[in-house]
Every structure is written in structure tokens, then in C-alpha cells.
Symmetry: C2
Subunit: 218 residues, 2 copies
């Protein structure tokens, strides 16, 4: 239906939204020049996929949002499939899914969702939108803002930086990991945490990318 470029723009707009997304922000996210982003925004507005207020920004229309969610669903289902079925590591799957998502028919999307038992989270813990764009409310909190001395369960890790993901993996931090914040460094915001009996230090930049919930969820 839509080109690879259009689909990637919609996905970025969704990720950066829902408010007016600036041209520079969008261009940086897609590693494209500002001029290219402006041109594409005009084309997306033409197709009624975004509303554009010149010098203000662009935001997805309902139509654009549904299209974006469809790509996000494909992306996350593919990541889950690559991880569970083909055994790829959490740090390898994002880049593959970034390409494959544009080649997956609705039919195959359904077949994969079915094969996987309709998962609701991908291997990074990101929620997988439903077949019609349904997305439940996000309640996970950034680890960096979480209270000290409580049992926390890691719910989400970032998906697009293999080096951060490898570091997390090597330190036993992934969705499902249970940990406790021992102390928070007053200067740089770094965290001293305990995973099982092992103590680790997590920098504040990484801690802001990890999301948790409180244990005893069920």
C-alpha cells in the first residue's frame, strides 16, 4: 500500500508524537535532512495522513495513526518471532524487523500472531498493538524515577541500540528481571541496584531507558 519511506515516517511521527512533531526532530530521528522531512510531511498531508501547521509541526491524523500502529504491530510481532522461533538475540532483532516490517502482508501478520499465540509484548517488553490498532494504557515507569528499596520487575528495555542491549543482557537485565534500588547517586543520578544477591551500577542514562513495574502484580 504505502512505500517503505512513508511507513517509516509514520512510525517516527507516532513514536515522537502525539503532539505536533517538529521537522528537525523528525529529520534527526530518520537520519534525513530537514528539507527531505519537510517535503515528505507535505506529501503525507496531501494523503491526509498528517495535519501540518507550517512552522509548528505535524501530527498524525486518525488514518495516519492507524497506519503507524499497523507497522508497529508488524515490527513487534516480527521481533517476537525472530527471537522465539529463530533464536536471535534481543540486540539483533530490531534492525531486521525494521526492514521486514515493510514486506509483511496482513495475511502473514495474522499467521505469525496466531503462531505465537497473540503475544501482547515483544522481547523488549514493548506492547504489541492489536490487529485494529488497540493499545492498552501504559503503566510502566522509568527505572530512574523509581523508589528505593522496593522489589521492582523490569518490564521494558530499549530496542534500537545494540550496545546498550548487549550491556543490559550481559548484566542480566531484561524484561522479567527482578531488582531493587539500593541507592541513588546524588550527583549523576546513577543507581546502585541489587539483582538477586549481586550488586550492579546502572548509569542514569541507561536507567531512564529501562521501565519497571512493582512486583506482586498478580
Amino acid at each position: 500500500m504505502y512505500s517503505v519511506a512513508v511507513e517509516d515516517y509514520l512510525k517516527s511521527l507516532w513514536k515522537l508524537g502525539p503532539n505536533n512533531v517538529g521537522t528537525k526532530q523528525l529529520a534527526d530521528n530518520l537520519r534525513v535532512s530537514k528539507a527531505s522531512a519537510t517535503k515528505m510531511i507535505l506529501r503525507l498531508a496531501e494523503k491526509e495522513l498528517v495535519d501540518h501547521i507550517p512552522y509548528k509541526g505535524a501530527s498524525l491524523t486518525k488514518k495516519g495513526e492507524l497506519e503507524a500502529l499497523s507497522i508497529v504491530r508488524k515490527h513487534r510481532l516480527l521481533e517476537t518471532f525472530l527471537s522465539q522461533t529463530l533464536g536471535l538475540g534481543r540486540e539483533e532483532i530490531h534492525d531486521e524487523a525494521e526492514i521486514l516490517e515493510h514486506a509483511l502482508s496482513k495475511n502473514l501478520e495474522m499467521a505469525i500472531a496466531d503462531y505465537l499465540g497473540n503475544p501482547t509484548r515483544d522481547p523488549h517488553g514493548h506492547p504489541i498493538p492489536g490487529p485494529n490498532g488497540e493499545l492498552y494504557n501504559e503503566t510502566d515507569l522509568p527505572l530512574c524515577d523509581s523508589p528505593i528499596n522496593m522489589s521492582l520487575i523490569v518490564m521494558q528495555v530499549p530496542d534500537d541500540d545494540p550496545s546498550i542491549l548487549s550491556w543490559l543482557e550481559n548484566n542480566g537485565i531484561h524484561p522479567g528481571t527482578i531488582l531493587k534500588i539500593i541507592s541513588r547517586d546524588k550527583f549523576d543520578g546513577g543507581l546502585n541496584v541489587k539483582i538477586g544477591e549481586v550488586k550492579k551500577r546502572i548509569s542514569s542514562s541507561i536507567a531512564s531507558l529501562v521501565k519497571i513495574s512493582f512486583e506482586v502484580e498478580n
Copy 2:
């Protein structure tokens, strides 16, 4: 590496080759105009993927052939994967693979081949080239040219016409089917065959697309 268009042109040139492939033949195969095919042939020659003799035709260079075989391998591995793992029917897989083949990294290709146990035939019985383009010699024969009253084993069915494939499937004809030609119609070349105890009639146009070998291969 190469664009979707370039990859599809190389694949068609391989399928129609190995001799000089005419512009019209190529254009028809890809459902583009002759002008588009000419233009692309010139670009492929520029990239040293084909040799082009004006008004004679184009043929793949070694480099082009290896590239084509890589796409054919991806295509056939994907068909096998879609069939075996996701349970898609033999008539659905070709069109999906035609798109996915361009989105499959070398890494994923290897993971899938490994997962499937390095198959040598796809669900249509087509040989799957090796990771470096190795392709064993083809010994299967067209059913239409095969002798009467011998036990034949179906080795290959066509892959790109869902209606023919559905007909074959509904009549129990697919790779592995054992059959015997009872008689050949002198006028239209149609075949009367026996599959188990059941008699069927196969038109000559379909019989020319099905390939067999003689039973007792091992």
C-alpha cells in the same frame, strides 16, 4: 545492497537464461514496458551484472548470476519456511516470498536455512541453491514427455500460478505423488494417469509444467 527492482530483473534474467534474453521476453516476464526493460538492462550492464549486445539480448555475468542465485535461494528458503513453519498452502507462498526475498539479510537467510535443516528442495520441488550459489544438475523430466506405464514420482510443480496449484493440490498432485501414465491423447497431448487406484486426466499444458523422476531412486 541492490534495489528490489534490480533483484527482480536479475532473477527473471536467470529464469529466462542462460542465453541472451530478449528485451520483450524480459519485459513480459516482469510486466513492465519494453522501454523500461531496455533502460534497466543498460543500468545492469553499467554495474557489470549483465552483458548486453544491442538488438541481441542480455545475459548475466558471473557476478549477476551469483546475485540472482542468492535471491532464488532466499525465495525458496522463504517458501519452505512459510509452508513448514507457518503452515501456508503451496499456492499462497510464492507471492509472499516474492516480496520477502528482498528484505531478508544474509544473517536471517542462514538462521532460516539452519532452522529448516538446510533443505535442498522447496515445497514446489524446486532445488534450493546453496549459500554460495551451488546448484546441482537438474535431472527431473517434464511429465508430458514421460513414458507410459511406468511408475513416476512427481518432483516439481509450478510455483507462480495459484489456480493451477490449487487444481493440482485438489487432485492430489504434488512433489512426492506417485503416478502412472495410462495413455496419451494423440490430438491434444492430454494424459490419462492413475494415482493409486484413481484415474485422472491432466491437460498437456499442465503436464508440461509438472516434472517427474522414475521411482526407485534409492
